[in-house]
Amino acid sequence: MPDRAEDWDPADEAAVERACSGSGPEPSPSFRAELRDAFVRGRFAHGDEAGESSGSASQGEEAPRTPEHAMIEHILNKSRISEPARDDFRQELRARFVAGEFEGTAPEPASDSVFETGAPRSALRLLGWAAPLAVAAAILLIVILGAEDSSWRVRSVAGDGPLVIGGTEVAVLDGPELERRIRLGQEISTGEHRVDLELGDKVRMRFEPGSRVRVEPSADDGQLALQLLAGELHGVTGPDFVRSELQIDTPRGTATITGTAFSILAVPMGACFCVDHGTVGVKDKSGPLHSVGGGSSVFLYADGSPAATSTETELGHFRSAESRAEHGRPLRQFLAELAY
């Protein structure tokens, strides 16, 4: 491909463009002749070459442009590497784009500050450590399900304000659009919404306001993954989950759940796993395996402090009084709403 426009007349450029886009079978004869001449004489009309030869020391470190490279560029130009889009897709998207069916603007993802002050008293002293370890609060839920192919569906979305998915605002009533974006594995910022999803009769999840989550699409082998980046979720497994296994992997450990009801809270200083019934095995990378039975919980600290176990299963226990008053509801109430 020619880099210096002054080396080629507009007609040649148009021919190259056609060849690149696949609409032209061959580059123009003049382009071919020019390149042939340059190839034979070892001089290529390439802006990069000029830049490299007269550039800085760092540019001099680059591999020298060779006739072989120029030939590769020519082959690239000549090849049709991309298949055309489907006509109906093109027409539909064009109609939507021109008619302005895409409403709203793209705000910044919602903050996860709702839970940032919700530490238990024992955890507050760790706040100094929390900021650099915020990333470690991310939770990866790997749901290993049966071999059946399935995808997440939106059960309900409730709340005010924007729901931001993949950095763009999505109309909360547009379930199919939301599901499409979930299938793309895009990050969801729930903002002021409470989002309920389900995977058939296998599991239902509720993401609380202020949560950031990435619901990974199902793989062919039935393995699914969710990332709870911040906030809070509740989950209830369904009748088809009996033979299945739910693995929860955090940067510091892995939890394994089989047929249970649970809540998870991700805050900068760690993550809390509360179990209503069933059993959760939480494996801390730097510590032992904790078997968390129904009616108990475990808090994993992001700084590697020993995990704290409790008979408290209400996530509200781990929040500040203010946050608790705003969001705290009994776990069983959530679970009753999610139950199959």
Partner: protein
């Protein structure tokens, strides 16, 4: 850095909206939107398709790009070139996708599609020889590009097929210009090695 004059003229050699047309975009003028779509759709789709391969993924991501563009238009500065902006959006969408688990799943689909493509080629042996030869070259180049690491592939597509300057590509990929030049050079060398016989045939023809 690319010579400004060179960059300007390189940009002008690719279809784009005029400054007057660009000024209508923030108002979401239908005519300007239609022109924008017609100028960019195939290029954006083709770019994304080569990066993610699977058709349905390319469609999803292309739609996301145009949605993002539409929503961002009110704040678009018409004095800025469209092309780097559009391909930055497209690249970011693909990058988000690559970070997702779905990308790993798509890798399997990609190999299936490539096999399907070759099968399709084998079935259609009644085409003129020149077309078959060109098709074979297309498939080989496509496969060679698909084998490139993501960063190299993106750079090659933006450079060789979109004609963007190294500086613009660096801005899109958040790398400095020198790094992009090196990456492009390495990509060409990798392609030369991968294409092997096809390259030699082409060399003999030339």
């Amino acid at each position: 850095m690319d010579d400004p004059q060179n960059t300007r003229e390189r940009a002008s050699s690719y279809p784009d909206l005029s400054v007057e047309e660009r000024r209508l975009l923030p108002e979401r003028d239908e005519g300007a939107l239609a022109k924008f779509f017609d100028v960019y759709f195939d290029r954006v789709y083709g770019y994304i398709r080569r990066l993610v391969v699977a058709e349905h993924l390319a469609e999803d991501l292309t739609q996301d790009v145009f949605m993002h563009v539409y929503r961002s238009l009110p704040s678009y500065d018409a004095t800025r070139e469209l092309r780097p902006w559009v391909f930055t959006i497209a690249t970011n969408k693909v990058r988000d996708f690559w970070r997702s688990r779905r990308h790993r799943d798509a890798q399997r689909e990609k190999s299936v599609e490539i096999e399907g493509s070759l099968d399709h080629f084998a079935e259609r042996d009644d085409r003129p020889e020149s077309e078959l030869v060109q098709h074979e070259m297309d498939v080989q180049v496509r496969e060679a590009i698909d084998k490139l690491p993501d960063g190299m592939r993106t750079t090659v597509l933006l450079r060789a097929y979109e004609g963007l300057s190294f500086e613009a590509i660096g801005e899109i990929l958040d790398r400095n210009e020198v790094a992009i030049r090196k990456r492009y050079s390495r990509a060409l060398e990798t392609l030369r090695e991968t294409l092997g016989p096809a390259y030699r045939v082409h060399q003999e023809e030339s």
